[in-house]
Amino acid sequence: MTTVAELIQRDGLIIVCGSGGVGKTSISAALGVLAATQTNKRVLVLTVDPAKRLANALGLREFGNVEVQITSDLFKTSKTKLRGSLSAGMIDTKASWDDLISRHAPDEATRNSVLQNSLYKNLTERFVHSHDYIAIERLYQAHSSGAYDLIVVDTPPSRNALTILDAPKRMQDFFSSRLLKLLTANSQWQLLALAAKPFYEIADRLLGKGLLRDVAEFFTLFRTMEAGFVERAKKVEALLHDSKTSFVIVTTLEDAPLSEAEFLSAALKERKFSTHLAIANRVIPKELQGGALTEQAHVLNDARQNTEFISELADVLVNTDASSGTSSDIDEANLSKLLTQTLETIQNYALATTQISEMQSTLLDRVAGFADHFAVAPMLESDIADINGLVTLGENLNIV
């Protein structure tokens, strides 16, 4: 386990995972920005499906596999400047698969047959969880290009973040599976008919004649690429297990995402990946935690019931507001009533915030239960829309 400060000092990969909707993409981007402003590293942030405003914040305009270097222009209004370099990229699954097939196909004819096969998309999707495999594959490509010192990758919105980590292994298993061999054996049809005659009959009855043949044909083509795929998958797997690869689990302090985070942490340990850091996102800001806010709520409670205070305050409002002429439109009796109500609302939200913060602190104990070290990111007033937002979020993460 490490702190954020230590994490961004290391070269290698940072894989950010967690349940959907917890702010993985923003956190990934903020870690990337922090690394590029605090160190002189060449940093890449890879993301699958960023929110539009976040993509804009990173200077990404169009969808595609090209990595874009973020110019220092984007930091013009920011107090913090780039020390290293920062690039951002998206992962385009379809384009990446086509690339992969083109690279591994033994010849032009095979390549075209695969790309044009009507089963291609469906099959790759089903058998090797193409989204997950591609994300890892792209990560490997970026890493082995040598163009970056540190790569932060935001895992795809998969129901279970583990499928991405199991993807290389699954790819290898797929090629070595008995079923694939059976389907693509030269004497496939005799063999199948002999060993699996009842199945074959049922399959034909169920699926219609000829479908099985199409499937076998596709896999026969696909198998010609076996060596390339398997070798690559092994390298990718080795990279994931490399000591330079860090895993970060992001969660909000709510029951469901937290349960998922706990599950994820246990599963990572089981796979011998080490979780380096947990990040609790959308935590009530520090100054609003604790007794001071509760005391203010009590002050408000007394104040709003003190009619003398209210009427004096109403006068102050009318006077200070002479220029904008808002509450001066309201007659005095109504203003006092409105003031009392508003103060009560403020009191209620002060108390509600205290309660949420207490609940969050209990849940934070659960984060501490699976992570020796965690960072906390505050609940923000708005979505992150520019680089300054990412700089601020990164700085917040960096506070020990």
Partner: protein, 313 residues
């Protein structure tokens, strides 16, 4: 929405699909319906929410009129083969189930048809008034509800093709079947919800029954309170308060200000959702559910279902 016989509850991961599905189930029971809740993945979220033991493929009545099951492709295949093809199940022959699984995986729509077929079968059997499905996230639902049609185009002949016809008749009847899209008031969840509604309309004939916005923070200040709130934030007013009460109320202003900002942000995203939906075919129902994030999990379903009962009555 609850007058239909088959409802798929879907949305981006993390928006609270299972919670909404369970709550809709309870709300339907409260309306006097016999309900079957079906969980599509074996994650177990539904059984936790309903505070019952692990669910299985065979529906189990967990409280009066509320039954629940979990979907399993293998079991669906077994049942399908024995009911519709009148053939003893292939698993009896060692190794064949695996091969079958492999090929069923390959052909577009086969697995989905088995799953959707099971749900339609429960509708057709009529043991329940409504089948509510805690479905997979947005990425998969279109493929699922369109599966019978996809498969029919892919395999033009054969018994499976025949079977898809009655399924389609149920799925494409907007009186019978609907998709409920759940979202939160976050940018990405709203985008996904809009994309899904559009995909349902362009790629399938299955109707979107309703959009449910979950975890909507409540309004903090009324319009006139807003004015007072902004005045209370002025320096002169603040120092008057300190002078009179001996204490600053800055932190309270900040806390309610944060809640107010979160509410405004949510309102903004809901407005985007509304205007996006207005560009598509009009959706009859848009429900907003309050934010119960910080409620104890065991109270979540009962709170949300009372909310839904009130909204739907």
């Amino acid at each position: 929405m609850l007058d239909r016989q088959l409802l798929f509850i879907t949305g981006k991961g993390g928006v609270g699909k299972s919670t909404v599905a369970a709550s809709l189930g309870r709300a339907a029971v409260a309306q006097g319906k016999r309900v079957l809740l079906c969980e599509m993945d074996a994650k177990g979220a539904l059984s936790t929410l309903l505070q019952t033991s692990e669910l299985s493929f065979t529906p189990r009545e967990i409280s009066p009129n509320l039954s629940a099951m979990t979907m399993n492709t293998q079991d669906a295949l077994r049942e399908y083969v024995s009911i519709f093809l009148k053939t003893p199940f292939v698993a009896a022959i060692p190794g064949l189930a695996g091969i079958f699984d492999f090929v069923a995986d390959a052909a577009p729509g086969v697995k989905e048809v088995l799953v959707v077929g099971k749900l339609c079968y429960e509708v057709r059997k009529g043991n329940y008034d409504i089948v509510i499905v805690d479905a997979e996230s947005t990425g998969h639902i279109v493929a699922q509800v369109a599966a019978p049609t996809t498969l029919r185009n892919f395999v033009p002949l054969g018994p499976l093709n025949e079977q898809t016809k009655w399924m389609t008749a149920i799925l494409e009847d907007s009186q019978k079947t609907g998709v409920v899209v759940v979202t939160t008031c976050q940018e990405m969840a709203v985008n996904e919800a809009l994309e899904l509604v559009e995909a349902l309309q362009t790629k399938t004939k299955v109707s979107a029954a309703a959009i449910i916005v979950n975890r909507v923070p409540s309004e903090i200040f009324t319009k006139s309170q807003e004015i007072v709130f902004s005045q209370l934030n002025q320096v002169a007013v603040k120092s008057f308060i300190v002078k009179k009460t001996g204490s600053s109320i800055d932190l309270s202003l900040q806390a309610s200000g944060l809640a107010r900002a979160r509410r405004n942000l949510a309102t903004h995203h809901i407005a985007t959702l509304r205007s996006g939906l207005a560009k598509l075919d009009p959706i009859k129902e848009l429900l907003l559910l309050p934010d119960f994030s910080y409620q104890p999990p065991d109270l979540l379903v009962s709170k949300l279902s009372s909310e839904l009962e009130a909204e739907l009555s």
